[in-house]
């Protein structure tokens, strides 16, 4: 693997990583860049509380009662002001879409549960469950199994 540093005072600063597949290294670089540029968290609102939620502590971002909600490791729910579509663009690559209205932190998924109804649920470390749509399940399989 090569390392290249280009110093150009006139260029817009960016870090480009060329790899064959995402790995823990690319994730660490991504986290480092996000933390350096201050884009590793979002603001969450709960009752009168306002909290900066680091991406890594969010387990799932979903839509409940038409509101975008982030669920943390303790199962606490925080209202987020951004739209899910906009969040998808700024979230790190370890956030995966599990249905059309939920994004999951794959590090915090405890397991996938196949229900007899034929549905699949993602069970998070805090105990929260969210259904995985068939389309997203196929996409996750492609991503994990490379099929």
């Amino acid at each position: 693997m090569k390392y290249k540093l280009i110093i150009d005072r006139d260029a817009e600063e960016e870090i480009v990583v060329v790899v064959r597949a995402p790995s823990s290294l690319t994730e660490q670089i991504e986290n480092l860049v996000r933390s350096f540029s201050g884009t590793d968290s979002i603001m969450g609102y709960r009752d009168d509380e306002m909290r900066k939620l680091a991406f890594r502590e969010i387990e799932c971002i979903t839509i409940l009662d038409r509101k975008v909600i982030a669920i943390d490791g303790e199962g606490k729910q925080y209202r987020i002001q951004d739209r899910l579509r906009d969040l998808e663009e700024i979230l790190p690559s370890y956030f995966i879409r599990i249905n059309k209205s939920a994004l999951a932190n794959e590090h915090r998924i405890q397991r996938f549960d196949a229900a007899f109804s034929g549905g699949v649920d993602a069970v998070f470390a805090c105990g929260y469950r969210e259904y995985v749509s068939r389309r997203c399940f196929a996409e996750i399989r492609r991503r994990y199994e490379g099929i």
């Binding site: 397991r111 109804s117 994990y144």
Partner: protein, 147 residues
């Protein structure tokens, strides 16, 4: 709802063209077996109309699998129920099945057994896929924790 209805119509129209083709194959098989040698105009017309309608319904009903939130079992039950009624009606209208309790019960039994067998296969595949995905997820999380 409107979107699903439009999808039903679109899929139904695509599939209904195959109805007369299936009917022709069906009658050809019956002729080769010596069960049917001649057909009346009435039989041909009823056959074409009913099998086209059946193909429309069978094709159109696939839209239920596109409804993201609907569990697979519910989708299969709705699909199966509509297909059962449609097939039974077409078989009876065309005199391919005798009127009476016994023939209808035999037909229903075969249909239910067929559906249960399909469901058992689908469920076992889903469980296997979920278990495989969980194993990969666990491995990924262990690697991330070690690094």
């Amino acid at each position: 709802m409107k979107k699903h209805f439009a999808e039903f119509i679109r899929r139904g129209l695509t599939a209904c063209g195959f109805g007369p083709l299936v009917l022709a194959v069906f009658y050809r098989i019956l002729q080769l077996q010596g069960d049917v040698q001649t057909l009346t105009v009435d039989q041909v017309c009823v056959g074409i109309f009913s099998v086209s309608a059946l193909a429309f319904v069978a094709g159109g009903m696939n839209f239920v699998y596109q409804i993201e939130r609907l569990p697979l079992m519910a989708a299969i039950l709705i699909h199966g129920g509509v297909l059962y009624v449609s097939y039974l009606a077409v078989y009876l209208v065309n005199d391919w099945l005798e009127w009476g309790t016994a023939p209808i019960l035999v037909f229903s039994g075969i249909f239910v057994i067929g559906y249960l067998a399909i469901w058992a296969v689908i469920y076992s595949i889903l469980r296997r896929r979920t278990a495989r995905l969980n194993a990969i997820l666990k491995k990924k999380q262990q690697n991330a924790a070690e690094e």
